[in-house]
Symmetry: C2
């Protein structure tokens, strides 16, 4: 059972506030200031902090903690004779990895805008952006070392974090390679999305369980929950790029189409006879008109491609929720089910 949508939004918002406060402490602007300001640029620009919220909620569910305001820096351990664990350090670590990948991805994709502000390589320059990403990368590992969990579990969490970063790089490499290929299938695409996007949701859900000493059945199920909702999230993003007004998206609607990116929607359309090359004439997001996007969306809709992606993301969310049965039946577990639904119900 999922918590009501309003309770889920409240819960995400509460944890977002806690994560933001922690980010200020963990990642202060110190010398060299230019580097740390650039490193914080996207973190300060906003973001829903969904991945660290998942980390915190998994910890709450396992510790059966339904306090509305738990002290995440002295989080109750599963065994009474253990030291408290700083779960916020793990949550901040996950968000820091996410921010590093956004900075480097924006350079690679030549994206000028992110969260409604200039991307780091536009607000600063490419050199600073590369270095800001590299700094956050190291900091994420530093933070994950600061949870105070027993050394064996910290080693496991670090191992998960490092392997996750490797897979994100592999996924991004596939994403770039797909842009030069005409014959990418939806299955290949979903595999790429798993590597590039879903593995960080999997780490966000699995690592708190590892740090708390949960058994392997539990950590594996949470990993699956993360993989499912992460894929659902990206496929939902593919739909939102076509259906949400530009001002709400924080970038031009339909920019995936203009840039010729493969998505769950366009790959389905291509497999069902739509000629992707003729969908949009404009070659840059700045040059495209709303009417052109509307016409393209109508054609994709007629091919059933938007409905296909919507159904796929909904199926993944249902699968993700089923893995939560390993957790105690408590409020945080209902919130995690609610987060899965939020990922595909959200407007942007």
């Amino acid at each position: 059972m999922s918590a009501p949508a309003e309770a889920v939004l409240d819960a995400i918002e509460t944890r977002r506030g806690a994560v933001n406060a922690a980010l200020s402490t963990y990642l202060p602007v110190r010398e060299p200031e230019h580097l740390y300001r650039a490193s914080r640029h996207l973190l300060d620009a906003g973001g829903k902090r969904l991945r660290p919220a998942v980390t915190l909620m998994v910890a709450e569910a396992l510790a059966d903690s339904d306090r509305s305001d738990p002290d995440y820096r002295a989080f109750p351990p599963l065994e009474p004779d253990e030291e408290p664990i700083d779960m916020m350090a793990a949550a901040v670590s996950i968000e820091t990895i996410q921010s590093f990948t956004l900075i480097h991805d924006d350079i690679m994709d030549e994206d000028d805008l992110r969260r409604g502000v200039p991307s780091v390589h536009r607000a600063y320059d490419t050199e600073t952006a590369i270095l800001a990403g590299d700094t956050l990368y190291a900091k994420a590992f530093e933070f994950m070392l600061e949870t105070g969990a027993p050394a064996e579990r910290t080693v496991q969490a670090l191992s998960e974090l490092a392997r996750t970063c490797t897979r994100i790089c592999e996924g991004q490499s596939l994403d770039v390679a797909f842009e030069g290929r005409e014959d990418v299938t939806t299955d290949e695409y979903i595999g790429m999305v798993e590597q590039k996007t879903a593995v960080l949701y999997a780490a966000a859900a699995r690592i708190p369980a590892v740090l708390l000493g949960a058994n392997e059945t539990t950590t594996d199920a949470l990993c699956q929950y993360g993989l499912d909702i992460g894929r659902a999230f990206q496929i939902r993003d593919d739909v939102l790029d076509l259906t949400v007004p530009s001002e709400e998206l924080g970038k031009q609607r339909g920019s995936d189409l203009v840039e010729g990116k493969r998505t769950a929607v366009t790959l389905h359309a291509s497999e069902h006879g739509v000629d992707l090359d003729s969908l949009v004439e404009a070659e840059t997001p700045a040059a495209v008109t709303e009417a052109e996007i509307d016409a393209a969306v109508a054609e994709l809709d007629a091919a059933g491609s938007i409905e296909y992606a919507r159904t796929l993301s909904r199926d993944l969310v249902e699968s993700g929720k089923s893995h939560l049965e390993v957790l105690p039946d408590n409020e945080p577990r209902q919130l995690l089910a609610g987060v899965a639904e939020y990922l595909i119900e959200r407007g942007y």
Copy 2:
């Protein structure tokens, strides 16, 4: 006492071969092949593997192992009841970090050549180079997790590695900032070199001691050894850029001068009345003539700046060697002293 120069060269060469063999195993070209080929590009182009050689020699000195061909993957622990430690995993981790920083630095500095081959962003493209560096970054952490050392020590080693990466980024940021400043002092420069370059030598020397469970006096002294020889290495590089023929350097001699980089040589010259802006007229390494470089070097020499940098690097090497007294008086310790001397005696 240092080992004879020839024995040091032999010892470096032996360990270079062992590290290269291990790199093939630890970092095979797997899917996505394009990404892993790019990640291996500079590693395959050569390199003396000095940092991993230091890691292996420190381990040998501490374990009092004077075998000419120790099995680094089942390295004898200090305590007889402990499991063997895969010290090669730590050595490969250090070299992998080094390779990641070279790839990203070459993008930032717009350097076209490295080790006599095109830099990764030239041989491939900037997107691939960013991603290849990011992949090696994650892999380095994976490798450091694979030594089989007790979890507490692995956590310490990882912590050292993460903090080292943060400091390298901070140092690189200072290096870039210095290019836009007219008033950089030699002291500031040496501080930057410590952050950007020396900390990885410090990690290379300290981490094997941490993994073997050496006491804090020993690990601290080895850290100081690394910081000293790392600074000596960079300052020696500043001299070699001016004095070694281009074909041996693998890039244009005097390119630091052409590019207006601050070095120990030029900062000393500037502090002693030399007008750096008038030293070289050419604006790119491709446009400069040997005669122009010769004239500039003569002027720097007359100001005593080359001798200053030579003396500074020699003093640092002497200081570095003094810290080796914490080690047993054995052959590997003499090799470590010899590596320190090699760093400033080498021709390129």
